[in-house]
Amino acid sequence: MALLLKTTRFVESQIDTFLDMVSDSATTFQLAIEDYLGERYEQFEERLTKIRELEHRADDLRVSIERFLYERTLIPENRGDVLAILENTDEVIDNIKDSLLQFSIEMPDIPSELDDLWVQTSKASVAAVEQLVFAVRSFFRDLAAVNNYIHKVYFFEREADQIGEKLRRKIFGMNIELSQKSQLRFFAIHIEKISDAAQNVCDRLSIYTIKRQL
């Protein structure tokens, strides 16, 4: 039993580390966006590199957790659900990385009057991801609290959608080239997608929570 308990605790710590990475990616994303808007491009690239590393390590960790769960037949009843949560949460990091990568590749020219809305949208998306991390942690340890966090994720996702919509309206209301408008819209949608991914995880999480309730 002691050995199995040791393995179990090891997997628990791996799951916690994985969630830490998701959280770190979100925070780093926020800082990177601010760097980009502040034209601190070198720092922006450093943050992108960090997120790439986090994404890579998170992938490895997720595979390792999955392997442990299957090899040691841990939580056979909830295994599928847990794996789905981890895989979907991993997609959030992928979205974060993809978004920043597009910034790095295309280097869009963002008019300074959009900065505030841009920051607000990304903040709302990042907040959704942070609440998602709380929700997932609670799913493992404190089932009663999950719904509170899920509620907050939905709140910030709506917030990101609303501010994102405002941002896109403002983009298309500006006197700039249509091609630039189209490009900026693409970036705005990319940021909104991060909170959408967080919401997708929560959709599953709320069902798994009901399944686990006594």
């Binding site: 039993m1 199995l4 308990l5 179990t8 605790r9 997997v11 628990e12 799951i15 037949t73 841990l74 939580i75 056979p76 009843e77 909830n78 847990v82 799913f139 493992f140 340890r141 404190d142 089932l143 009663a144 399944k211 686990r212 309730q213 006594l214």
Partner: protein, 495 residues
Amino acid sequence: MFFFYLLSGLFLGWSLGANDTGNIFGAAVETRMLKFKKAALIASIFITLGAVFEGSGPANTLGRLGSVDALAGAFTVALAAAIAITLIVRLRIPVSTSQTIVGAIIGWNFFAGRLTDYRSLITIASSWVIAFVLSGSIAALLFYLAKPWINRSKVHLLEQDLYIRYALIVIGAFGAYSLGANNIANVVGVFVPVSPFKDISIGGLFVLSGVQQLYLLGSLSIVTGIYTFSHKVMRTVGKDLFHLSPITALIALLAEAIVLFLFASRGLYNLLLSLGLPTIPLVPVSSTQVIVGAVVGIGLAKGGKNIRYNILGKISLAWIAAPVIAFIISFTMLFIMQNVFEQKVQQETHYIFDRITITKIVNDGYDNAALSVVNGRRFDSEQDVYHELSEQHSLSRQEIVDIIQIAEIYPLKVDTIKLTQSGMQRQFSAAQLLALRQYEAATYRHKWQLRQVLIRYPGFELYEAPDTQLKKEHNRRIEDQLNTLYRIFMVEETG
């Protein structure tokens, strides 16, 4: 020959192993918390331990309902119970051998012209209902207790799963032990009076009584059932019943194990007796119905949603239909066995109302006037005597049963060597054996004559009007010992 006849009992055991183990480990195997091989091994070990060490309580209760006294009779009764259960299970009605064996025994009682002890029958039948309700109540209570505790504990899902897995093994083992103790009576209980097994001393440390050897054989048939057929059943039971989380499955299993234990444990029975608390009758109950009761209890505790109420109707039907079907099959098969295959399905019994028995009956304070219809007559069936006496309307059923016991011809010869050879002397104290030796070679025509002699001696003394459960239990134990002596000292009637 005994082993051939025992086959029907072993078939019952196989069926029990195949069907009922699913009620213990179905959830664990279906939710993949436990591998089948591990579940089968734990079930095999603990069912055997429970059967051998604690199976006697429910068997005695079943024995009081009707003591099948011929090997072919026991074979037919067990076979009838097995056929009945096969038929009823095909109708997807949750039933167990507990119900069919009772019907089959009563079938034998009717066929052999013996009277059925209705008090035992009521005790047994009411226990089925009580076990179902009790299991539901215990499960609901456990659910209420566990829910806030689990919600507050904040143990990581993975750790919680680990603890549940170990709990499923431990509680599963407890459940298997209780199942063995409670249900072995159904499997080989009817063979106890005709068992040829003698007590065996193992290395001088441990004595395996003849009855325990019979239970061990029954357990082996259960184990065969577990390994050959229970995997499929476990999965079906798991799917059908356990649309529950592992924790609720664990609660249901614990409730089931507790109920089976309550209705099987002689130790607990004696403890309650010594504390002056009401006792729980030791009766074989249906593990299927008990687990369904537990699931319904949890369902109600959750607010009554998702309960398949038609299952309650099916179970109520099983309480009545199963014994009736088994009764009909048993009676018919006994008829065929005796008249077509010319097998002895019962010992011949005779009842005589001569000077000796009439004097005894009158001395015991029974109504003299009612005896005029039987005075000087000899009967070949308990039921004939009962009908004659019951027409007098002055005697109660119990009084007639007592009179029949006095009138029964049961030739006995005290033979302590026979007692030693049978290995049964270990069941008697030194004082009791001393009393028996004083009457070596003495012969008696009726059981009560030997009883009358022996109860004057220390070790065989009875409480005249037992007012406490403890005293009643003492009397019951002495009566059981006397019954053993009757069986061993029985000789052929010489004329």
